[in-house]
Symmetry: C2
Subunit: 338 residues, 2 copies
Amino acid sequence: MTNKRSTIKDIARKANVSIATVSNVLNDIDVVKPKTRQHVLQIASQLNYVPNLRAKQLQSGQTKMIGFFCNSISGPYFNPLAESIAKIAEENGYGINILLSNDQSMLRRNILGDLVDGIIGFEDLITDKELQLIRTNRIKAVFIDRIIQDETIGSVVFDSYQKGKEVTDYLIQQGHQKIGFILGKDDIYDSNERFRGYKTAMEKANLKVNPNYIFKGEFELEPAFQVIEQFLTTTARKDYPTAIIAGNDLSAIGAYRAIKQQKIRIPEEISLVSFDGFDLDSPHRPNLTGIHNPIVEQAKFAVEHLIAMIHNQTPGKVQTIEGHFVVGETVQQRAEER
Amino acid sequence: MTNKRSTIKDIARKANVSIATVSNVLNDIDVVKPKTRQHVLQIASQLNYVPNLRAKQLQSGQTKMIGFFCNSISGPYFNPLAESIAKIAEENGYGINILLSNDQSMLRRNILGDLVDGIIGFEDLITDKELQLIRTNRIKAVFIDRIIQDETIGSVVFDSYQKGKEVTDYLIQQGHQKIGFILGKDDIYDSNERFRGYKTAMEKANLKVNPNYIFKGEFELEPAFQVIEQFLTTTARKDYPTAIIAGNDLSAIGAYRAIKQQKIRIPEEISLVSFDGFDLDSPHRPNLTGIHNPIVEQAKFAVEHLIAMIHNQTPGKVQTIEGHFVVGETVQQRAEER
DNA sequence: CTGAAAGCGCTTACAG
DNA sequence: CTGAAAGCGCTTACAG
């Protein structure tokens, strides 16, 4: 690509003007004599001139690029998130550079190497050291999985604790008492918060949390499937929970498959509640009951807040996005005691 | 971000050496006296120095970035494609800049503005003019939906014609004669090629292509659903095709839903064949019969070929990736005539 | 209205 | 081994 693309210097030479004049013409700075302007423009187009943005960036100190770092852009959560972020950034005149790597040095190069004007990402993907660098260098950043706030750092999270409680309350109201929960990995904010909400609700209703009903599903499809399958096949039917709350969409799907595979009916025998996962393109996606988190809204806040910080229009803020409770077909009312 | 990040100049001043020496130290050019080296290194780390990559790029003429332009990174095809491209690029030391825009000027800025070292994308998203610019400026590019070849342009496509034929032959062998086809938009290479293969196979078997069985599904879920639903509800049951070939995964899903919704059994009454779409995360994704295209392989070739061209190691090539026929549960053998 | 010069942060011959 | 200088492609005061 480095070949012989023409520069303003080429234009200047050919047009017999200075590079300053060329620059002025090209940037529509209304100070050039119309005739000169015409002439320069013509030469420029004749040379197929396209400005070298890197040089411009070096001057202006801006890249009009946002770095988005994540582990994946697949799945019912990450995919719409990534797509929305890219789309909204573009609408605002920013490009987006996706960093899928865990490699901290890659991250660092991008973040601190002035390749992007700011970053959006998941806090659990970066080390404390990098976070520290972000702070001290006053890098503009928005985290979407954890509450962090600083002069140049904002965040946007779901009201996971609240919704964890709400969903559990709902099940209890429906007469459930033996309620299970599928956790994500230890350090996932949403998992922890949802679980905390669940425990609070259980406690308030004087229901005890049965440790056998707490599953480690890793927030992934396969592990959730495995752990539930394992449980169902090694546990007496009468000891099944009557309802399971999946900490996220993928674990809901894994659980759904495992339960179905054992020919156990949903919701007649086991009710299932989920978070997210309402945009699955599948022939007959189950009509899940649960919390629907508006991902696009989250993406929108993240991008716009970041850009506002880049323009120094605001300090970092924390935004909580409210999920909506959606009644599907996977919860059934339960007769009193058992 | 532009704040007061430290530069080699700052280091030089503080270390009492020239910027050239700093540069040499930082780039591990083994020419500096160990003591000086130590000293500089220490100051650098003390100043939290991180090189400004833009300046480096301006010098080297390389960005180590690949532009990927597409309309979407969602769906069973685009999503794994985008993710694979990002991953493989990263493994090769390249970042990836996703351009979701149709805006040609955005594209142009990126492609020609030296923001990326090369591009991967869909030919139908760019205008002839831009393509021409790519050619004349010898931009390195790989197209993944159409056969194009030039000194600096390569492409990677699926063997869609072949597979369209193969799949149709298979249905014919299974005794089907009334075979429908769901098309994509007019200018989609894969759609055209698969359809061409279908027609050839039909012709060779002396079966006539019933125009009522040719559906315009746009390669999207909703439109495919609509067109099939429309057909099923306005056509006598005896006039249904016994098999339908969906031109891509999303139309297969749309068709699947429409057929199911009409309480028509698959495959007993209508067999359904698909392209791609084998990685759908859904609780009970139908086990489709059809062609499984190795998307990761496609991504891998695209990225590696592009990088080889960037390094001037090869001229543009055309690669055809072979799809694999997978027997699922959506095709049933058909008794002779009707 | 136009041009010469300095500078963005870096690298790379070239002297010393 | 180290430094002064030119240059990557552009912009931006500052003279004229």
